[in-house]
Amino acid sequence: MTMLADTLDAPVVAAASAIVEPTVRIRLGLGDRPLVTAGVHVRAGDPIAERLRDGGMAETRLGGIQEPEPGMLLEAGAPLGGKRRRVASPGRGRTIYVTPGGTLRSVVGRHQETVGAPAAGVVLDVQATAIVLRTDGIGYAGTLMTGDPTVGRLMVGVARPDDELPVAAIDVTGAGAIVVAGARIDVEALTRARAMGVRGVVVGGVVGRDLRSFAASEARQRAAIHASPAFALLVLDGFGKRPIPPGVWAALIEAEGREVGIAADPAMILLDAATAIAPIGRDRVRAAAGELTGRTGRLIEIVGRRRLPAGVMAVVGRVAFEAGGGQPPEERLVALADLERLAT
């Protein structure tokens, strides 16, 4: 056994913790228009930008008229200039640049949709391709997010963080909500959630194949003529079936019924500042890998280097796991690298 008497000092990584007033970016495309300016306070869901759907590049021969500035907003049909030969804007969008041959290249599109703020906060900066927002509440970082930033009331769809949300459990009651879907969600459930008007899904893990199928489905959705509300999938912990980490789970339970948001950059769930979480003992850990993934307990001893399967040597600790996942309470030796400390 090592001389590290105090397991509180054990070299164990900290689990994701709440970030107070996180700063997030809402990415903009070349043809998008910000609707806010720096310094403005916005509420969750307030329109902050107009997104150009199905944008494409258009070329316009300027024929010697004065070159428009790069980044200039364009309105469909509006004159760009010219006395003898009137040159009109190729559509609603924004100029990119003028080629040496005098051709204006712009990004234009026929449809627009509104981008809402994923949380209340102050606009710190409006850049050419991003709006920077310092949110008022707290945030928990995820592993990845796909879709668009969104906002909705939080609905916890599972009883436990390691449950999976069945497809049949998704119905119209989830319309306008961000649904907490447990340890994993498949592409059928995601597609159904989208069809039922769910605004977002928060999940512990996702199968990569389902993620890509969903991304392809989203791309098709965007190509449709009618705009659909923003939808986001936030993955909190990784790939495959991965229970929602206990700290985030407790915060999500606390925030149920309240308005929450999902940001893309960085991938994050944004909660109300009033979401209070009870303090967690510093010896509390979670197994983040291996057969015990998701189970929580107390790290009671650093045992030292031990031989693990495949002959691997690693420093292990003795953990008193609580009952969970159909397993009784038990003490197990776990590699410290596979543990996460719940308190930070």
Partner: protein, 542 residues
């Protein structure tokens, strides 16, 4: 130099894990007394405290010197995430050459585009990306007839986009693109030579400049001001080559980039840092093909979708799940990284015009990816991927002390510490003999091994296979290969004799082809890899 009467910690801060070692003077010379590693996110002090406690447990007479472990000197190095660069060029060929130079000199290439109508939106979005630090624009010098039109168009695009930014990124103008300097007055301009198409890894001036620039960027981003671990590894390799008066090669597989260095007693012969050869490339999250590059080396039996997700989890948290199949997956990822490091490893011709010399007397492997694998399995991973005929000794920088040693400013200090720590810090994996041209038939050839203690052993060579012979650490042996048709070991002969050193993995005799040919069908490929690897994994859960 640190006070040699005292003990010192060496600390290598990696992007995925932190490794520390305790070095103290015992019996008149520095000895490596203990080493440990942990995930990068965990605090370092408890790691050092545990290390000091462990050492005191085993060597109680050091209790007095280590009582105040917090006050011990530290020799540290840090590996940072490589800086990002956007590459734009008038033609696809120019973009490819620039991207190769950037990718092999420590840059993360966020995009590489030729100026075409179809790429205008992507280029402009890239130039307006708030995270953009550096953009490289390059063309032939002077621009070719084919490049002139697209280059003028590209420059209009670049000037228009950058003019919309509040903060201009650094702009590298390579080759004929320097003509655009007067149009980019607001930018921090760097003039560079033109890119050579797939140049060698030493004489390309563009690569040399980009290496220096990457170093400036990584240093500027690090508030701790610790020396860069990848450069320190190159320095330590050169010091080691000088000390041993041998050609020494080092490969380090890291979570965010991998490094390969070849040095001879005169200095560094070749050096690359490749982001696309990282242990777990982030692209694997969105791209099945990248994950499949790792799985092409895997022997784990499971459905491909689950295995790809395991590769993705390796990207998310490289330190987790290191036992059992996790160890095998890590070594598969390390093989994929090593084979990327080998791809494009081109050395210059020798001064007399002879073909480049890729040989090394000692091959050192470093990086957390290898910490969980048994010695013979590491040896096989090296000869599977860095294939060349000949014999070489293999060693493992198990305590990751080479980077901190390379971070020492004074060559004499580096050499002194290397002299003292050579036996402790470099675990001898053994030796490998890679011989091609051994044919099946009645007279396949044999290998006779005679150790310095007089023991002798003879085995029949099996063409197209890997054979492992017992040769414990500390022993040196003469290996004599005898074949009727001749074998190729850098030179072709019927009778070849080489000196080999022992190690934990013994002597690996590899008579497979160069390059290694593996079946295309995944099941057959996995079975063949498993047949080679299975005997080398100890600890036995299959």
């Amino acid at each position: 130099m640190t006070d040699r009467r005292q003990a010192v910690f060496t600390v290598d801060h990696g992007t995925a894990s932190t490794a520390a070692a305790l070095v103290a003077t015992v019996g008149g010379r520095s000895r490596l007394l203990g080493a440990a590693a942990q995930p990068a996110g965990a605090p370092v002090e408890p790691l050092l405290a545990g290390l000091a406690d462990d050492v005191v447990t085993h060597v109680p007479e050091l209790a007095g010197r280590l009582a105040d472990w917090q006050a011990l000197a530290r020799i540290e190095s840090a590996t940072r995430r490589p800086p990002a660069m956007l590459i734009v060029a008038p033609t696809e060929n120019a973009a490819t050459s620039l991207a190769w130079a950037a990718r092999t000199s420590g840059w993360r290439v966020t995009g590489s585009h030729a100026a075409e109508a179809s790429t205008v939106v992507a280029i402009t979005e890239g130039l307006l990306d708030p995270d953009l630090e550096t953009v490289m624009i390059g063309a032939a010098d002077p621009p070719s007839v084919v490049e002139r039109g697209p280059l003028a168009d590209l420059l209009n695009m670049v000037v228009a986009a950058l003019g919309r930014r509040r903060d201009w990124p650094e702009v590298v103008l390579a080759g004929g693109a320097v003509e655009a300097a007067d149009r980019l007055e607001g930018a921090d301009l760097i003039f560079a030579p033109q890119a050579a198409y797939r140049a060698d890894v030493t004489r390309d001036p563009l690569r040399a400049l980009l290496e220096r620039l990457a170093a400036v960027h990584t240093d500027a981003r690090d508030a701790t001001a610790l020396p860069d671990g990848r450069r320190a590894l190159a320095t330590a390799t050169a010091s080691l080559a000088g000390l041993l008066d041998r050609r020494v090669e080092l490969v380090d597989v890291g979570a965010s980039a991998s490094t390969r260095v070849l040095a001879d007693p005169q200095g560094i012969v070749g050096h690359v840092v490749r982001v696309d050869a990282a242990l777990a490339p982030p692209e694997a999250i969105g791209d099945d093909a990248v994950a499949d590059r790792v799985l092409a080396w895997s022997t784990i039996r499971a459905d491909p979708a689950s295995l790809r997700d395991r590769v993705r989890n390796l990207v998310v948290a490289p330190w987790r799940d290191a036992a059992g199949d996790g160890a095998r997956l890590r070594l598969a990822a390390a093989r994929a990284a090593l084979s990327r490091l080998d791809d494009g490893w081109r050395l210059p011709e020798r001064p007399d015009g002879a073909p480049p010399d890729y040989s090394a007397d000692l091959l050192v492997v470093s990086g957390g990816a290898f910490a969980v694998a048994p010695a013979p399995a590491i040896s096989l991973a090296l000869v599977d991927t860095l294939r060349r005929p000949g014999a070489m000794a293999l060693a493992f920088d198990h305590a990751r002390v080479l980077a901190p040693i390379g971070a020492l400013a004074d060559e004499a200090d580096r050499r002194q510490l290397l002299v003292d720590l050579l036996e402790d810090a470099l675990t001898p994996l053994g030796s490998a003999i890679v011989a091609t041209g051994v044919h099946a038939g009645r007279h396949r050839g044999s290998l006779k091994l005679t150790t310095t203690d007089g023991a002798s052993d003879q085995v029949e060579l099996v063409p197209g296979s890997v054979q492992l012979l017992d040769l414990p650490p500390g022993l040196v042996a003469a290996a004599e290969l005898t074949t009727r048709d001749g074998a190729w070991l850098g030179v072709r002969s019927h009778h070849l004799a080489v000196e080999v050193a022992g190690g934990l993995g013994g002597l690996l005799v590899d008579t497979r082809e160069i390059p290694l040919r593996l079946p295309d069908r995944p099941e057959r490929r996995r079975d063949l890899l498993d047949a080679w690897q299975r005997p080398l994994w100890s600890g036995g859960d299959g």
